[in-house]
């Protein structure tokens, strides 16, 4: 197991190197000029050139790359070309709202979706199953911003239960955090509940047909134990995969939800950086996201051994 983990961690190095080179070159080939954003509409070509020089953008491409990689190896992601703020500081400010929202969303999704999927499988081809599947189709089909606006209209403006927008860190009061995070999390959870519930149902249907389930029932084991101890645990591997992938997607940025609920997360940071051609921020974000994907995939793979002891690395 330890050898496997080390091998997986070492595999990150070539992955990240390829990502770094690819992102660096791709960005430089994209039309756009951060100096034009900084200088504004009235700048003359000469002023633009002077700003480009001061930002180091007039240097040959290979020199820019070497400078960037040199800083990267020291753990320095560089400085934003637009705001002059260290990229690590910017990511540090914006990553926590995203992580916290992602965790709460996944917790809510699992708490709702897994029992729903189990129920749907248990009551296969009954009205319960149809209701769960109908909800899943709706969850996939309705655009997330529509759900967000509906929640805001109903729970914030209509009933006045929650604030319309904004984000408060849990450290400043868990109640305040929850009151602002609940609607965006429920909005995001709508999709993930649909996804996880469908996956749970499919996996459970497969497992519920197995001989050992029939044996357990024949032995008089309570149905709830059959479902959740015997069946669900054996159906857990694909469910964990979908949960892990979902979590990685959430961390990667949920721009629309962040915009609708005004959450200063990394999704918006990335989009803003792309629109402004803020190269160091885009590079830092893509590296971070790639690293997180690799890490989460590793965690998912390791979790398989917990649910299915037959799996060995």
């Amino acid at each position: 197991m330890l050898g496997y983990i080390i091998r997986r961690i070492l595999a990150v190095i070539p992955v990240m190197t390829i990502v770094a080179v690819f992102v660096f070159l791709l960005l430089r080939l994209t039309p756009g000029d951060p100096a034009a954003i900084i200088a504004g509409d009235m700048a003359t070509p000469a002023q633009l050139e002077r700003i480009r020089t001061s930002l180091g953008l007039s240097e040959p491409l290979h020199e820019q790359f070497i400078t960037w990689v040199g800083l990267l190896l020291q753990g320095d992601l560089g400085t934003s070309l637009i705001s002059n703020t260290p990229v690590t500081q910017m990511i540090g400010q914006r990553v926590w709202p995203t992580i916290n929202i992602a965790i709460l969303t996944i917790v809510l999704s699992v708490l709702i979706a897994v029992p729903m999927g189990v129920l749907a499988a248990w009551r296969h081809r009954t009205w319960v199953d149809y209701v769960v599947m109908a909800f899943s189709v709706l969850g996939f089909s309705i655009p997330v911003f529509v759900i967000g606006y509906l929640f805001i209209q109903t729970f914030s403006i209509g009933l006045g239960w929650f604030p319309v927008q904004g984000y408060v860190a849990p450290s400043e009061g868990f109640g305040a955090f929850l009151s602002r995070a609940i609607l965006p999390c429920l909005t995001l959870a709508t999709i993930y509940v649909a996804l996880i519930a469908r996956m749970t149902r499919a996996s459970m249907l497969e497992v519920l047909g197995e001989d050992y389930i029939r044996t357990a029932r024949a032995k008089g084991v309570k149905e709830i134990v059959v479902l959740f101890r015997h069946a669900l645990r054996n159906a857990a591997v694909p469910i964990m995969t979908i949960i892990g992938t979902g979590f990685a997607l959430l961390i990667g940025g949920v721009v629309v939800t962040e915009s609708v609920f005004n959450i200063p997360g990394i999704g918006r940071l990335t989009v803003d950086a792309i629109l402004a051609r803020d190269y160091p921020v885009i590079q830092g974000m893509i590296l971070l996201t790639s690293g997180l994907y690799v890490f989460i995939n590793l965690i998912i793979d390791l979790s398989y051994t917990f649910f299915d002891p037959r799996i060995r690395y």
Partner: protein
């Protein structure tokens, strides 16, 4: 149901694993320090949603309006303009020598930087010199400057080589780059590198530790600021701060901002999308108003270097095809918020005159444009028209213009792109078929184009001119005449000739003026009309 779930999760390893792991994770994350705190959390706070996020903190290096607005929060200026466009003393009074060559400014008492040091003439000199390297009006002024020196701590002397009657107007300009006064140690740096020390001289202090680029910025009342005694008037007068903090937050979604204002979570929206106004009008707690009566001028600019717009007749044909009504009707929709205006210096300004605007303000003349195009011998050369797709205030103009130009007989190649691509491409002097362009559109705040001294489109110095690069000696002669004009009447006389020349040669196409409504909570009072949203004089009820 909840109890059932609790039981289910208690008895399964999956539930236990997931719930414990994730909840533990959530608990670990509580150390995060980032927050968009609720309004009113720290003293009396005004929470405002501005038109864009603040990302560049140096108001001299950029012409971005949000950075200029930031500049007005934390810096003061020597001279400011009132609602009659008259320069008024702000940090300094002045005297002018009889030969109009020497301006002596005297700083008023009580001026202090946010670090506690007094504002001196040396600080002002350094700030003006740095500004003069960046601002187009400042560059004109420094072209005729013999010397600018601090005579003592309170006095600075500006000596000119030749009279420059518009000196006070230029030093008092509020857009796009006003000469903000910074400490000498800050202002003595390069004009091409952004400052990193934000010690201000104005009524608010920038709270650096709470700043999140593009997300939020907090300004605290500067307790030692001494306002002028005159009442606030446009950008001039006393800057009395009556709240503890002003917080600017960025909301990328216009609907969210409106919801937040209606629910009382924020106090002010700087620019409201006009199609969303009916929602706000249903709220009793919100007031919609236009505090910047001049608003914006939307314009089209052609590339003078390449066919077909290197031919003045073809430029005239294009202008003839366009109708301000069509453009503004599509862009804004509600006639309450736009004005058909043929004045290149903007309607409502001292130099406003609509000579030569002809068909532009009377619905366009497609038939006339066809005829003119035929006379010019247009050979069907494609017109590469750049259309930004991600700036709401600029998406309609290219579409309307393309339709009108096609009807007139132009072969239009409209190319959609994001704004960043557009600003890069418009700087290219390559042929339109090789990555260049023929026409684009943009918007200016009227105070940015209300004088030939500052309007970038009226520069006729070829490759040194603004994008489009017209070579026009006559406009340069006219601008020199304007600089020499020492009375408003003389300036107006020259301005009319500039107006006629500009439209006859189609240096650019003014496509009308529009206002940008703002919305505020009724708890906010005392907001003054001004071309820049300012937060002094504002009171907030409990």
């Amino acid at each position: 149901m909840l109890r059932i779930q609790e039981r289910l999760f208690r008895c399964t390893s999956l539930g236990r694993g997931m719930a414990l792991g994730l909840l533990a994770g959530a608990a670990l994350m509580t150390g995060s320090s980032l927050a968009t705190t609720p309004a009113g959390a720290e003293g009396k706070t005004v929470t405002a949603v501005m038109h864009s996020g603040l990302r560049v903190l140096d108001p001299i290096i950029t012409t971005a309006h949000i950075t200029r607005n930031h500049g007005y929060m934390i810096y003061d200026v020597l001279v400011a303009v009132d609602e009659n466009f008259e320069p008024q003393p702000q940090m300094a009074d002045w005297t002018i020598s009889d030969d109009n060559l020497v301006y002596t400014f005297t700083l008023r008492d009580g001026l202090t930087f946010h670090d506690g040091n007094p504002v001196t003439a040396a600080d002002a000199v350094a700030s003006l010199k740095r500004w003069g390297k960046r601002d187009s009006g400042g560059q004109l002024l420094f072209d005729v400057t013999e010397s600018l020196e601090a005579k003592d701590d309170k006095t600075l002397v500006w000596t000119l080589k030749s009279p420059f009657p518009a000196l006070l107007e230029i030093v008092g300009k509020q857009s796009a780059v006003p000469p903000f006064i910074m400490p000498e140690r800050v202002a003595s740096g390069s004009a091409d590198e952004a400052i990193t020390d934000y010690t201000g001289s104005g009524p608010f202090v920038f709270v650096e530790e709470e700043y999140q680029p593009g997300v939020s910025v907090t300004y605290r009342k500067f307790e030692d600021y001494v306002p002028r005694e005159e009442p606030a008037n446009w950008m001039a007068g006393g800057k009395n701060v009556k709240v503890d903090q002003v917080k600017w937050v960025t909301m990328p979604d216009a609907q969210t901002a409106i919801n937040a204002l209606m629910s009382g979570e924020i106090d002010y929206i700087e620019q409201v999308q006009i199609d969303l106004l009916p929602i706000l009008e249903t709220s009793e707690n919100v007031t919609v108003e236009t505090r910047d009566e001049l608003g914006y001028q939307t314009i089209g600019r052609m590339n003078f270097k390449y066919p077909p717009f290197d031919d003045v007749k073809i430029r005239q044909a294009a202008m003839m095809a366009l109708s301000q009504e069509n453009v503004l009707g599509t862009l804004i929709g509600n006639p309450d918020y736009y004005t058909i205006c043929g004045a290149i210096f903007g309607c409502g300004t001292p130099l406003a005159d609509d000579s030569g605007s002809g068909t532009l303000t009377s619905g366009g003349d497609i038939e006339g444009a066809k005829k003119l195009l035929e006379e010019a011998g247009y050979d069907g050369t494609p017109v590469v028209l750049m259309q930004p797709t991600d700036v709401v205030s600029l998406t309609a103009q290219p579409v309307v213009a393309a339709q009108a130009l096609r009807e007139a007989g132009f072969n239009v190649d409209m190319q959609p792109m994001d704004w960043q691509t557009l600003v890069t491409r418009r700087a290219s002097q390559a042929k339109p078929s090789e990555g260049g362009w023929n026409m684009f559109f943009t918007n200016w705040m009227v105070p940015e184009i209300n004088s030939p001294l500052i309007s970038p489109m009226l520069n006729g110095r070829g490759d040194d001119a603004w994008f489009g690069w017209p070579e026009d000696d006559e406009i340069e002669v006219l601008r020199a005449e304007f600089i020499a004009a020492d009375t408003l009447d003389k300036q107006k006389e020259v301005a009319v000739r500039i107006q006629e020349h500009t439209l006859e040669n189609v240096l650019y196409i003014p496509l009308g003026q529009y206002a940008s409504p703002q919305a505020r909570s009724n708890k906010l009072t005392g907001m003054i009309p001004s071309p820049v949203p300012v937060f002094w004089n504002v009171e907030k009820a409990d």
